[in-house]
Subunit: 212 residues, 2 copies
DNA sequence: GCTATATTTGAACACATGTTCAAATATAGC
DNA sequence: GCTATATTTGAACATGTGTTCAAATATAGC
């Protein structure tokens, strides 16, 4: 009936449903039956199009990581060598935050999936490092240009703290909403963006200026 | 045979095994059969002692959160009203980091479990807020004493970034090890502790001093 | 030593899981 | 319109899941 009128293809519908459910309950908390039911397709189709549940999960991640990393790499490459730390951090986190803010539900769910796998040892090397380390390496290279006297460890640990703040933001668990009595809303990514860059920039400066 | 010579009780053995496995694969990635096999006990015993798998999970969290939150609350209460932001942050994160560092495998695994649920929407209100918000509220209260002119939102968002850095540290995924070619090691919590306090303190100062 | 309670055992239950496959159907190339 | 390929269907498979329970055993109180 209206299945034919749906403009989105089967693989896309599966990816969208999987993304939404993985964001809510993580990889092991979601079954193929839940995904196919939400997508309105047969149970066998994810395996046909993506080989396995794991293949589907990887496809969910890669679909947007490719787009995202291009944007982030471009933003980094657009900077001059004398860019301030604010600009560096902005280039690193800005594209991701903007996508989550203006990209619709899909991008927001995607960020929530990434946040969960970022803190799970199971997906670290297989997904996180494989997908996101190239941009991280370029970011760190530029931080070291900006802070030439900084010790190597200080740069990496600063980056580690940045990653944590970023991940917690993407997770969108609603904890800060609850804690603040809705004074702050985790979905207000523009409010966060506004504060995240100066906060982290101050941290980088303190740690990487080499005053110690 | 040697079961009687084991000094640890059955509930404790179950908690320890569950903790270790949850740290590795999360709640849904672990079955009761994996837990009981590792603990060397019968399948029915977790349900007998903890009611259900969910009850076991909650017990894993609460066993150490009680100890931890007492220590953290004491550390906060030991501060004078004119304590610097470094001292506030130290009191908030210090006890947790020290336990993870010197408390043995159990505490390290515990921190990894907490890190995973901290970024999962599923456990936010049920566990994270319920267990850890009281200390958070006291911390925030004291930050506002230290920075009386700070806007409410700035304080909460600063706390949010702190939480992210803390969570990423506890996760111990090994990503920073990989990224830095083992220049940095996620298990070196003392190295992190040393840098985390100044990094975050600089962020709080930048955001909460009220200079706009 | 006996009794009442607490714990452990071992098996079974009903249901959910990812994956597979031949048959049916739709699609595209000529 | 026909043929070859791509996709979809619907059912089944073997295995894993949390939970339950009566029977067996251990433990503690007197």
């Amino acid at each position: 009936m209206n299945k034919k009128t749906d403009k989105t293809s089967t693989p896309q519908r599966i990816l969208d449903s999987a993304e939404a459910l993985f964001a809510e309950s993580g990889y092991d908390g979601v079954s193929l039956r839940m995904i196919t039911k939400l997508a309105g397709v047969e149970l066998a189709l994810p395996n046909y199009h993506f080989g396995s549940k794991l293949g589907l999960f990887r496809a969910v991640i890669q679909r947007r990581s490719v787009i995202l990393n291009n944007e982030r790499m471009e933003a980094l490459n657009a900077l001059s060598d004398r860019a301030e730390s604010e600009d560096l951090i902005e280039a690193f986190i800005g594209p991701f935050l903007r996508r989550s803010l203006f990209g619709g539900e899909g991008w927001r769910d995607y960020a929530r999936v990434v946040a969960q796998i970022a803190n799970s040892p199971r997906w670290t090397s297989e997904i996180m490092s494989a997908e996101f380390d190239p941009v991280a390496i370029e970011f760190i290279r530029r931080v070291r240009v900006r802070f030439p006297v900084a010790k190597t460890e200080d740069v990496y640990w600063s980056f580690h703290f940045l990653l944590g703040a970023m991940t917690m933001t993407f997770a969108q668990t609603g904890r800060i909403d609850l804690l603040s009595g809705d004074t702050c809303r985790g979905s207000d990514l523009s409010e966060i963006h506004l504060r995240m860059v100066p906060f982290l920039s101050a941290g980088f400066s303190r740690l990487c200026k080499g005053s110690t």
